[in-house]
Point group: C2
Chain length 197, copies 2
DNA sequence: GGTATCAAGATACTCACGGTATGTCGACGC
DNA sequence: GCGTCGACATACCGTGAGTATCTTGATACC
């Protein structure tokens, strides 16, 4: 009667993993990393904490698995952007509109929350860095060929600015207008002006 | 025999508060917000958790009191910078060298850690914002008169970039050279170039 | 100067959460 | 079929934020 046929052990485990990741995404996005408990996630997925620990090494491991998937999707999004027919300027404009965040605005904050958390744990930081560098490397491909900034430097500055802006927006939601990021982007891409007085 | 004479109740309480704040600063700076327990802080100051809760409303309240003091000192530092004899360009250079961090490099990360934490708690966020805006307002006074960016926007972008760079540095400590911030600053300050291709 | 009061702070709890140890049951190898 | 082993549940532990209560000494009042 159940639609799901009998599953092999590995199919069963793979399904559990997917369901836990989906539940983790919903909860982490909504309540943040520290604000989400493993019981929350397990409940939402219809399991118990035992399932989590039999699938992932720790809460951090679960988050990292999720983050890596999110980066996958984001990298794919950038790839499509690059492959599109738009002019380069239009690609940059599209990027400026939603710098690193997926459809979810909370995404950036969640990432930063975990980032700072991982700063205290070398193993977590290393794994996080691996995913994050993938994102940054893909982003660097968008930089114009003739950028006066190097591509990597441009990507670094773009991400730094984008992440920092997300924090500023928490303080003054209306004080960080859409065009501020776009305007800053244009300046970052241009030739360096002489030292201003 | 004890050097400290008998203290009145309010003197005693004020001393306790100072000692707790000093201990909190050392511990928070070293171990981060979530990595520091109230027992740690109380121990370090020679008290128990009871003293903390009789002096502050909560762990967050203790942090906010500390943060406000740190902002005081930072604002004072900027005031001195502004009052100095240096040229405006030199002031900006001095600022670029240590954007928002006091003498402690961990300061920025600690701030961001709490910032994101406070994002989930309106009361905490409001109190944090009050202190942070004081810092940003003081920073805005450094912006050059002829900034093509508005002063406030310049301060917002400067802080966003500085905070974001601190995060990037966690990923690649050597990948964010000193001049990157300064170079980005110069671009952000200059006139907006025509749309690049 | 003695005594009641009240607040600073210590002590002893509660509860939530990450993580572990162990139990159970069904898939897989033989 | 039947023993094994892995997926997951259940029961537990340690730790940390926050609370309730007790102790003690400064202050106010007589």
């Amino acid at each position: 009667m159940a639609t799901a046929a009998r599953l092999s052990r590995s199919e069963r485990a793979a399904l559990t993993r997917r369901e836990l990741l989906a539940a983790a995404q919903r909860r982490f996005f909504r309540d943040g990393y520290h604000g989400t408990t493993l019981d929350d996630i397990a409940d939402e997925a219809g399991y118990t904490k035992g399932a989590v620990y039999s699938t992932f090494k720790s809460k951090g491991g679960l988050f990292l698995a999720l983050f890596d998937e999110v980066v996958d999707r984001r990298v794919e999004g950038i790839r499509e952007l690059l492959a599109g027919e738009d002019t380069h300027a239009e690609k940059l404009a599209a990027l400026a509109r939603r710098p690193v965040d997926d459809e979810h605005p909370q995404y950036v904050l969640l990432m930063i929350e975990f980032w700072v958390h991982a700063a205290r744990d070398p193993a977590l930081l290393e794994a996080f860095s691996d995913s994050y560098r993938r994102l940054r490397a893909k982003l660097a491909e968008i930089a114009p060929d003739d950028a006066h900034f190097g591509r990597d430097r441009w990507a670094t500055v773009t991400l730094a600015l984008s992440n920092g802006m997300a924090l500023e927006r928490l303080i003054d939601p209306g004080g960080v207008p859409d065009d501020l990021m776009a305007s800053a982007q244009r300046r970052l891409l241009g030739p360096e002006p002489p030292a201003a007085g």
